[in-house]
């Protein structure tokens, strides 16, 4: 597979060179290519490690995608820098022919360019489809003295509390900052390497609370952890006893949204075909059943809706980071 990728890359480089040389005719051939898309195998790049939630989702979709598009789908992992390396490559160095598509996550693609020199801008990420979400959830361990969000917030006003979560400038981090702002508290956010890395710290009592996702909350609940609140508009069917932050009067709706993106100059026809394929995959009964069992919430946002949603979330994220003085200098 690796060798094949090397040769694909060489072929792509050659393709770019030929394409540049024959710019005049490019639009004609581009249209034809878009019409016949897909004619060959498609590489579905996941910018994270194998075994994580983004990777698992892609592999759940793989078979249904192959059936829909009629071509082989190869899932490749390109983990590095929390996604920045792969996304900046997508934004600046990937041939826009639809044969390389890439998983993309909110709020990662909002926060990375806001907080650091990420090598890409949020606008560079061209969505084809957003297909699932995992809302934030706030948890405490079973030995914790707090049973409700109100008790937790009241205690946080008197003493310093450590709240763990998955990495810096992530949905968990933003969720913690949003709670700081809405409830007028000053929580200390402790970033861990990933969602699974943060969980033992909660169960072992190393931190006072954990801002995680509904999926991990489901698993931790079995270990006796208490879910104090979820960051969704309404209560979640898989965690029916957990109130929303909104019920407590805090306007916090946050979490991670996952979708698939293409290079910025990809012809609209190809983008639409990719979007249609993912829309159909989301209808596949087996995919639906498996995703729902793991706690993923299916979303159906096409290219335009995804872009609008991203713009709106970007404004919120910028405001939040500005308030905490975390924007890139």
């Amino acid at each position: 597979m690796t060798a094949r990728r090397v040769s694909t890359r060489l072929a792509l480089l050659t393709g770019v060179a030929v394409g540049l040389a024959g710019c005049a005719t490019q639009s004609d051939t581009g249209d034809a290519a878009a019409e016949q898309y897909p004619e060959q195998q498609i590489e579905y790049v996941i910018p994270f490690d194998p075994g994580g939630e983004s990777d698992v989702t892609a592999r759940l979709q793989q078979q249904a995608l192959e059936e829909t598009l009629g071509q082989d789908i190869v899932v490749t992992n390109r983990p590095a820098g929390g996604g920045t390396v792969a996304w900046s490559d997508l934004a600046t160095g990937t041939t826009p022919d639809g044969y390389t598509i890439m998983g993309a996550n909110l709020p990662h693609i909002l926060l990375q360019p806001l907080a650091q020199d990420a090598g890409y801008k949020t606008e560079d990420i061209k969505w084809a489809y957003i297909f699932e979400s995992t809302p934030n959830a706030l948890l405490v361990s079973k030995d914790s003295p707090y049973d409700t969000l109100e008790e937790f917030v009241a205690a946080a006003k008197d003493k310093k509390m450590a709240v763990g979560g998955s990495s810096s400038f992530s949905a968990n981090h933003m969720g913690t900052l949003a709670l700081d702002q809405e409830a007028g508290v000053d929580l200390t956010y402790v970033p861990f390497d990933g969602t699974a890395d943060a969980s033992p710290a909660l169960l072992g009592g190393q931190i006072d609370a954990l801002m995680s996702y509904n999926t991990e909350a489901l698993a931790l609940q079995e270990e006796g952890a208490k879910v104090l609140a979820v960051a969704s508009e309404e209560r979640l069917s898989e965690l029916p006893d957990a109130p929303t932050f909104k019920e407590a009067g805090y306007d916090i709706v946050d979490g991670a949204w996952r979708g698939v993106a293409v290079p910025p100059d990809t012809p609209q026809e190809i983008v639409d075909k990719v979007a249609d394929a993912f829309e159909q995959v989301n209808q596949d009964p087996q995919v639906r059943r498996r995703m729902e069992k793991l706690g993923f919430h299916l979303e159906d946002m096409g290219p335009e809706e995804s872009a609008e949603f991203t713009e709106q979330r970007l404004a919120d994220a910028r405001e939040l980071l500005e308030r905490f003085d975390m924007l890139e200098q």
Binding site: R59, R78, V190
Partner: protein, 516 residues
């Protein structure tokens, strides 16, 4: 539960299942032996194949593959100083000198025994003590990981002849590990504005660069040295008895085997540390306590047995937090977690009760794979060793060079990693010339993130204390590890004076003589 266990036993002993375990273990060995292609990369390549299988078959194949890959990493560590996976770093410390002395066959036999024993002890730990040992995971907080990393650093004393150069090399490794996005806080460091550098330098790339590239250079610059070793190896085989002698040597020192396996199991349980840390700690403890410690680094078979027993024990140990709590104990476990999730299986009690047959079949498959590695290793493994030894140096050097490039690229599918590997290789070659030991640099790269993350998280998590730094000195387990650190620092001083005394005693005293 006993019904599940006997059902699982019947399942795993079915011929088709045994064949699957054998195929998985052999494929794992082959892939693990390729430098750069770690168990994690191999399991990721297997993922799409297992996805089409039923959960039991898929997990059995992956388990056997994982066990085999960790064992396979030893081959290239011994034969060409190229640890096939980060779990075999320390295996090269004595394994490659053995090859240079024409004793590679003995080394291969030694690691085979060690891997079987280590693999089995890890699986026994998983099968019998899983719920109990899972508590260890929860007791280990950021402060403990910090001290574990510091404890690992004391190993520099035993890796370098000169303390100053050892410390310099270790510090260089720590610095390399800070490149990229910081684990706590998310700052971008030392990337010189290159986005591609934000992911930092992967351990495998540093490992291939610092260990293997200089070895290739040596082969090219001085092919005669290898020919001499090949001649000695052939001579030894003529004489015969290598298998019997080696088995006797290794099995007559069971303490090393068991201690290293227990270290591997315990380190495997900790989610923040895996085979890459376990093999180094086991090596160091073997060296510290062995009466033959002065031979370590110069081709001592105990030095290859210890890391290989430990890294295969990590397989069973790492699955303990995964199966009981859903927390991967080592990087390859994350992929096995993915397989469980793909099949809609949630780790935890449910896995042992409702899915008992599946879980026990998986655990038994690991044990069967560990046992099968014995005969496979002694036959196919020695065959590979013979083939490598007989390969003319100019072919071997070129072959390894190609493998290192593929391996470096495969880590993250990023061409930059090939460039980094070559640059580090040139640096490693030069630094070795000035006496900075590459193993100490790699030690820094392995431990840097553990120390930094532990420190950062520990200070943040202790936010309610007046002085968060104090949390590093007041937690019981931390204090225990601090004691180990102090012992680790004082031990070399103690053994050095003891060695000197025993030398003085052996020799007639002459006032003016100075011990070497």
């Amino acid at each position: 539960m006993p019904a599940d266990l006997s059902q699982a036993l019947a399942d795993i002993l079915a011929p088709s299942m045994l064949l699957l375990v054998l195929a998985g273990a052999v494929a794992g060995m082959a892939l693990g032996a390729a430098p750069g292609l770690s168990a994690t990369v191999g399991l990721a390549l297997l993922l799409p194949i297992t996805f089409t299988m039923d959960p039991t078959t898929g997990l059995v194949l992956m388990g056997a593959f994982y066990m085999g890959a960790i064992y396979g990493g030893a081959f290239t560590a011994i034969l060409v100083n190229a640890p096939g996976t980060p779990s075999s770093i320390a295996t090269s410390f004595d394994g490659f000198p053995m090859t240079q002395q024409g004793r590679s066959e003995a080394a291969i036999i030694g690691v085979t025994v060690a891997s079987v024993v280590g693999g089995l002890i890890g699986v026994v730990g998983l099968a019998t003590l899983a719920p109990l040992l899972a508590e260890v995971v929860l007791a280990f907080g950021p402060q403990e990981y910090f001290w574990l990393g510091i404890f690992g650093l004391t190993m520099i004393a035993s890796l370098a002849d000169s303390m100053v150069k050892g410390l310099a090399a270790g510090a260089l490794g720590l610095l390399i590990s800070t490149i990229g996005i910081s684990p706590v806080g998310g700052e971008v460091r030392f990337t010189f504005g290159m986005t591609d550098m934000q992911g930092g330098v992967p351990l495998i790339v540093a490992l291939i660069g610092l260990f293997t590239v200089p070895t290739i250079a040596d082969m090219v610059l001085d092919p005669e040295a290898r020919s001499a070793a090949m001649a000695k190896e052939a001579e030894r085989r003529e004489r015969g008895g290598v298998l019997r002698d080696t088995l006797r040597t290794v099995l007559s020192r069971p303490v090393n085997l068991v201690r290293s396996s227990v270290i591997g199991t315990l380190v495997g349980i900790l989610p923040g540390a895996g085979g890459n840390v376990a093999n180094l700690i086991a090596y160091n403890e073997a060296k510290r306590t062995s009466p033959r410690r002065r031979n370590f680094g110069k081709g001592e078979i105990e030095g290859v047995v210890a890391p290989e027993a430990a890294n295969n024990a990590v397989v069973g140990g790492g699955l303990i937090p995964l199966l009981t709590l859903g927390i991967p104990g080592a990087p390859p476990d994350a992929i096995i977690y993915g397989v469980l999730l793909l099949h809609g299986l949630r780790p935890g009690n449910e896995l042992f009760s409702e899915q008992g047959v599946l879980t026990f079949t998986f655990i038994l498959a690991l044990a069967v794979a560990a046992i099968l590695m014995g005969p496979v290793g002694l036959v196919a493994g020695r065959g590979l060793q013979r083939a490598v030894v007989r390969t003319p140096t100019h072919y071997l050097a070129a072959g390894i060079a190609v493998l290192t490039i593929v391996g470096a690229y495969a880590v993250r599918n990023n061409p930059l990693d090939v460039v980094l590997m070559i640059l580090l290789g040139l640096a490693g070659f030069g630094l070795r010339k000035v006496g900075l030991p590459p193993p100490a640099i790699v030690l820094g790269v392995v431990l840097g993130p553990i120390i930094e993350t532990g420190l950062g998280q520990g200070l943040l998590a202790a936010t309610d204390q007046a002085n968060p730094w104090m949390s590093f000195f007041t937690r019981p387990i931390s204090i225990g590890i601090i004691v180990l650190v102090v012992i680790g620092l004082l031990w070399p001083v103690y053994t050095r004076s003891k060695d000197r005394r025993s030398q003085d005693g052996a020799r007639p005293r002459s006032g003016s003589e100075v011990a070497p």
